[in-house]
């Protein structure tokens, strides 16, 4: 069996710099969760379908299970942990709570990142645009009804 | 899944039989064979790369000749292993003289197991069809070479 090589990478996550040595085959989501101890982003599948691992990489919404950690070298990564400033929920997070847009909370970080990406681009999305923006995020608990409502509430 | 078919060869039956029963010649017809070794006249192993998935699926396939009645009938069993795939195949062929050539009727029962099978179900039939037609095409070539050579 060939030896797996390692590489040192530097990333900025939620405004903080990290330098770590990783296996070149390590997925970005595992790097975030296991190496950086940022366990807010979750894993729900093994085929890149569920969106629980969604993060922003240089402003682009990415499923971090579909990316290698080494591909994120030098990137600016935003995860759910960066949304609330010093424990104060941002408007989107508060709206999720107000509208009961989460039950078990497992898909929630991914949903929040998808919604964040949407709202940066489009401050007043239609319901259809909202649904399309979270099409890549699977939720088994809510039926999406309240999630859409929460995002609508913030976009008015 | 079962696959079967029929093929005409413009060559005497003995020639076709010889090609089919020579592992070295058969190896040239099988697509994606990277190497093979012959253990005895009834057992041989081929290392193949099947065009499935990223970079192809590598397998080691053990062939065993189960039955034969020269020059008309043979039956083979193949058992292969690769990452995420297990292959079991039984194949047999019948040769009959026909109008200056040979008529071959063949059939194969192919079992593919493992995650590759679950995920590749939809493409399995087309890939098997493609592999079969490649084998038959190459077989034609081999038989022609054997006839002239």
């Amino acid at each position: 069996m060939e030896t797996v090589s390692r590489k040192t990478i530097t990333v900025d996550v939620n405004g903080e710099q990290y330098e770590r040595e990783v296996d070149v085959r390590r997925l970005l989501i595992h790097f975030i969760r296991d190496d950086l101890d940022l366990t807010g982003s979750h894993i729900g599948c093994d085929t890149g379908n569920c969106g629980a691992c969604s993060v922003l990489v240089d402003g682009v919404l990415v499923k971090s299970c579909m990316m290698l950690a080494v591909q994120a070298e030098g990137a600016k990564i935003e995860t759910v942990e960066g949304l609330a400033a010093e424990g104060e929920l941002n408007d989107l997070q508060q709206a999720f709570s107000d509208h009961h847009a989460l039950q078990c909370g497992y898909c929630t970080p991914g949903m929040l990142m998808s919604a964040t990406a949407l709202l940066r681009e489009n401050k007043t999305p239609s319901e259809d645009e909202i649904r399309k923006s979270i099409q890549g995020n699977i939720c088994r608990c809510t039926g999406y009804v309240n999630i859409v409502e929460a995002i609508q509430a913030v976009s008015r | 899944m079962k696959v079967s078919g029929e093929r005409q060869f413009e060559a005497p039956r003995a020639t076709v039989w010889e090609v089919l029963n020579d592992p070295a010649q058969m190896a040239k017809t099988m697509p994606g064979v990277e190497s093979f070794d012959i253990q005895d006249d009834r057992h041989w192993r081929a290392h193949v790369k099947i065009p499935l998935g990223l970079g192809g699926l590598r397998m080691s396939i053990d062939f065993e000749k189960m039955e034969e009645r020269e020059p008309e009938f043979a039956k083979l069993h193949a058992k292969g292993n690769g990452v995420g795939a297990v292959l079991n195949m039984d194949t047999s062929f019948n040769l009959v003289e026909a109008e200056g050539g040979t008529n071959m009727k063949w059939e194969a029962e192919v079992h593919l197991l493992g995650p590759v099978a679950s995920m590749g179900q939809r493409v399995l039939q087309p890939i098997v069809n493609q592999q079969v037609s490649q084998v038959l095409g190459a077989l034609d070539k081999q038989v022609q070479e054997a006839k002239t050579g």
Binding site: T47, N49, T108, V145 | L113, A117
Partner: protein
């Protein structure tokens, strides 16, 4: 008689007959949210231990095979591999898991890893532990297993023949078999004006596929021989009952800890085999081991919902549309290992006649093993399959006799005045108003303009159908029903525990016995406590999650079967009332008055009518815990109260298979309007309404959220979600790429309505709810039938899952399904 009301701006009564506004009934902010929206929840995979090893299972590619050899030597040679576990070791170190059934099912030998044979694709054969997740996978590929393939059986009816037997020790694939016969079906048959016969109906395999996969982090303490399992098991009490005897240890040696769980829906109840393997590894390797299930493993080798075939359905009907009952032969396919089964063979009997007043019912029920994934109590467990049958019966009978399915339902529904209603097998439906719920549902989808909508659809080349799905969420089980299946089982009744205490600084702390996966238990518990103690939910601290060592659990503790509002909150109410009593006693002792003179208001204990004489909670806590000299010796208070709620159940009559099997029955009535494109089979739900009645709603937003979620899952199961196998036994939908679960664009516009029929049997008049009984599946099937069926001619919707290509088949070849139904008119 119960009151029902549509607009509950209700004042809630919690104690002593005083009507006062309370937190129960309000949608208070959820306590769970703050951490979850910040990604600060703690799911088991978030927990880490220094030097822990990662587990990867080696799984069978064969549906059925003998294991000739397992060679782990090459895996051990890989640098970074800590160790392995094989079936041979498991067979020596553990005893087979306890089986619930009678013989032959009782003789099945079920271990943590496959021993001697593999019985479904994905059956775990060996486990490897390594330094990293990636290395564990590498090492697993180096394990060499030699198999001798065996013939396999993938169909329930085929399995009955016992030509291919999965468990040689049992000698048969039949796990359990029995006949249920209530009323007098033969007399009903003789009395009928029409007899409708349905040859076959099939409820397909699917599951709620929770987003978080199963898993655990197991630590073993050598000094105390005790395991701590950080996992997501939803019913740890029962998990321990399986695991402790298998591991040959006392039950207190297994500590289950969980905080947040990413959905369970019944699929995290039979994790004991994989957990046991991890326990053995943690002990063998003397290091913590961590196992996270892959999505593919969850679909292939965790659990599915029960697959059930209904044969020879016979329905006697009177000329006016009154149905007298039905008889059916049911074959339940439970996959390779029963585990929680055969409970599914009786659980359906909680709702034997569905929503209907049918008195003569005969069910011949057999459960068999097949070489497919084992099943578990997936959301709606066993009742959903049976209720689907009753709804198909109503629609097919109405269709064949040219009757309006709405009128037939109303004619046959249990009537509002008849509650509490005793079913033919002695179950007591506590309260409800099905006809009223149906009317609300019809109103929400604009049923009055149905004909207009149908013509409009036709003008666009589409076929419009409207269908109803009536369902019941029976909640709070009487586990005595298991004795009907096996009289030797020692399970009956039910329980749940809660502990409520007043800490030294006056903080109220609640410890639940349940294992929430998003149902908001922390929040609703705090509402109940706040109303009793006269404080606010914010002032009530509810410990997040579950820990066996909090000592607040009993045998049936867990979160399953739509019961928290009854059992969990019943325990909370009981404990809090006792605590309130103690607080009053203590205050009375301090003030020198009678406890009856004390009231708990605004976080204080004070003398009624004398607001100056008040002791804040902090004072009470401090006095008892730290400053108790001088208290009267006979004062017996702890301010730390543990209460076990026990629903009022009797053991059922095993002979007649008769008795009350569940305490509450929540209703959901759904109406679905869809349009089919007959040229492609594609259909679109154009309007949808769900009306629920779960008695007093503790937290309306949470109740509605459950209705939304159950509807989404049911719609997925109705259209795309199905676990099918190829002829080799490979699962064709092993991941989210192939198994399509609804996403935001798939959901139709969803309208909801509700009524509240208080339960006369429960501590808070609330009923358990949440499973949703598969109402969406019933409604979609009914709507498809309505769109396609023509009396005596059109196709019959006979399966629960109707993907577009299936509908196309129904449209193209109606004669194929038409022959499943016959009508004998006298």
């Amino acid at each position: 008689m119960t009151e029902t009301t549509v607009t509950p701006e209700r004042a809630l009564v919690v104690e002593e007959g005083d009507v006062k506004p309370g937190f129960i009934g309000q949608s208070v902010p959820r306590k769970e949210d703050k951490r979850l929206v910040q990604g600060e929840g703690v799911f088991f995979d978030d927990v880490k231990r220094h030097e822990m090893g990662y587990v990867h299972f080696v799984r069978s590619p064969y549906a059925h095979a003998r294991i000739k050899s397992v060679d782990v030597s090459k895996a051990h040679e890989l640098d970074g591999v800590y160790g392995t576990l094989t079936g041979d070791e498991v067979a020596i170190l553990t005893d087979p898991f306890f089986e619930l059934s009678t013989a032959p099912g009782a003789n099945i030998k079920d271990y943590a890893l496959a021993v001697g044979r593999v019985r479904h694709v994905g059956d775990p054969v060996a486990a490897v532990v390594a330094r990293t997740r990636e290395l564990a996978r590498d090492a697993a590929e180096l394990v060499e297993v030699e198999y001798e393939p065996l013939p396999h059986v993938l169909d329930g009816e085929e399995s009955l023949k016992d030509e291919v037997v999965l468990h040689e020790e049992a000698g048969s694939n039949t796990v359990w078999s029995g006949v249920f016969d209530w009323g007098d079906f033969d007399a009903a048959l003789a009395d009928a004006d029409h007899v409708v016969r349905i040859e076959r109906l099939h409820f397909d395999r699917f599951s709620s596929t929770p987003l978080e996969c199963s898993g655990c982090l197991v630590e073993y303490n050598r000094g105390t021989a005790q395991w701590t399992i950080h996992g997501n098991h939803q019913m740890p009490g029962v998990g321990a009952i399986w695991m402790a005897p298998a591991l040959r240890v006392g039950i207190d040696k297994l500590r289950f800890v969980s905080q947040d769980i990413g959905g369970g829906f019944g699929n995290k109840i039979t994790l004991h085999p994989q957990y046991t393997a991890c326990c053995l590894l943690a002990r063998k390797l003397n290091r913590p081991v961590q196992w996270t299930e892959w999505r593919t493993d969850q679909h292939t080798a965790n659990t599915h919902g029960n697959e059930r075939t209904f044969l020879d359905v016979t329905v006697p009907v009177k000329a006016d549309g009154t149905m007298l009952g039905f008889s059916v032969r049911a074959i339940d396919d439970c996959g390779a290992f029963p585990r929680y089964e055969p409970l599914g063979c009786i659980i359906w009997a909680q709702v034997t006649p569905g929503c209907y007043r049918w008195r003569n019912i005969r069910v011949d029920f057999t459960q068999v093993c097949t070489n497919k994934s084992p099943v578990a109590p997936n959301r709606g467990y066993s009742r959903m399959q049976h209720l689907w049958l009753t709804e198909r019966i109503v629609d097919i009978v109405a269709g064949e006799l040219g009757l309006d399915p709405i009128e037939v339902r109303k004619k046959n529904y249990v009537k509002h005045e008849e509650f509490p209603y005793e079913t033919p097998n002695g179950c007591i439906y506590d309260s409800g108003d099905y006809a009223r719920c149906l009317d609300i549902a019809l109103d929400l989808i604009g049923y009055d303009s149905l004909e207009e909508k149908r013509r409009d659809a036709e003008s666009r080349g589409k076929l419009l159908g409207i269908g109803i799905g009536s369902t019941l969420d029976s909640g709070t089980n009487n586990f005595g029903q298991s004795m009907i299946l096996n009289p030797e089982l020692q399970f009956s009744g039910n329980n749940e525990v809660a502990t409520v205490k007043l800490d030294i600084f006056g903080e109220v702390v609640v410890t639940l016995g349940t294992v929430p996966q998003g149902q908001g238990h922390e929040t609703t518990a705090s509402q109940v406590v706040a109303d009793i103690l006269g404080c606010t939910p914010d002032q009530v601290n509810v410990r997040a999650g579950h820990d066996t060592y909090w000592n607040s659990t009993a045998g049936f503790s867990g979160t399953y079967a739509s019961q928290f509002a009854v059992t969990g909150l019943g325990a909370v109410k009981g404990a809090t009332e006792k605590l309130a009593g103690e607080m009053k006693q203590l205050a009375a002792a301090v003030f020198g008055c009678s406890p009856d003179d004390i009231e708990l208001v605004e976080s204080q204990a004070r003398i009624k009518g004398n607001p100056e004489a008040a002791l804040p909670f902090m004072a009470l806590g401090a006095i008892l815990n730290a400053n108790n000299a001088g208290l009267p010796p006979e004062l017996d208070v702890t301010l730390n109260v543990r209460h076990v709620y026990r629903p009022p159940f009797e053991k059922p009559d095993l002979e007649r298979k008769y008795g009350n099997l569940t305490l509450t029955y929540a209703t959901q009535i759904h109406a679905c309007a869809l349009e089919i494109d007959p040229e492609t089979g594609v259909y679109e739900i154009v309007d949808y309404a769900a009306v629920d009645d779960c008695g007093n709603r503790i937290h309306p937003q949470i109740v509605e959220g459950q209705v939304h979620g159950a509807t989404a899952q049911a719609l997925g199961a109705a259209t795309h979600e199905i676990f099918t196998y190829d002829e080799e036994g490979n699962l064709l939908t092993p991941n989210f790429y192939d198994y399509h679960v609804p996403h935001a664009l798939d959901m139709p516009p969803l309208k909801t309505g509700f009524i509240e029929s208080e339960s006369p049997f429960t501590p808070l008049g609330a009923k358990g709810m949440g499973e949703g009984g598969g109402a969406g599946i019933h409604a979609v099937c009914a709507a498809l039938q309505n769109a396609l069926g023509r009396r005596g001619e059109g196709p019959i919707v006979w399966r629960s899952c109707n993907p577009y290509e299936g509908v196309w088949d129904l449209v193209q070849k109606p004669e194929q399904t038409r022959k499943l139904v016959s009508v004998e008119s006298r």
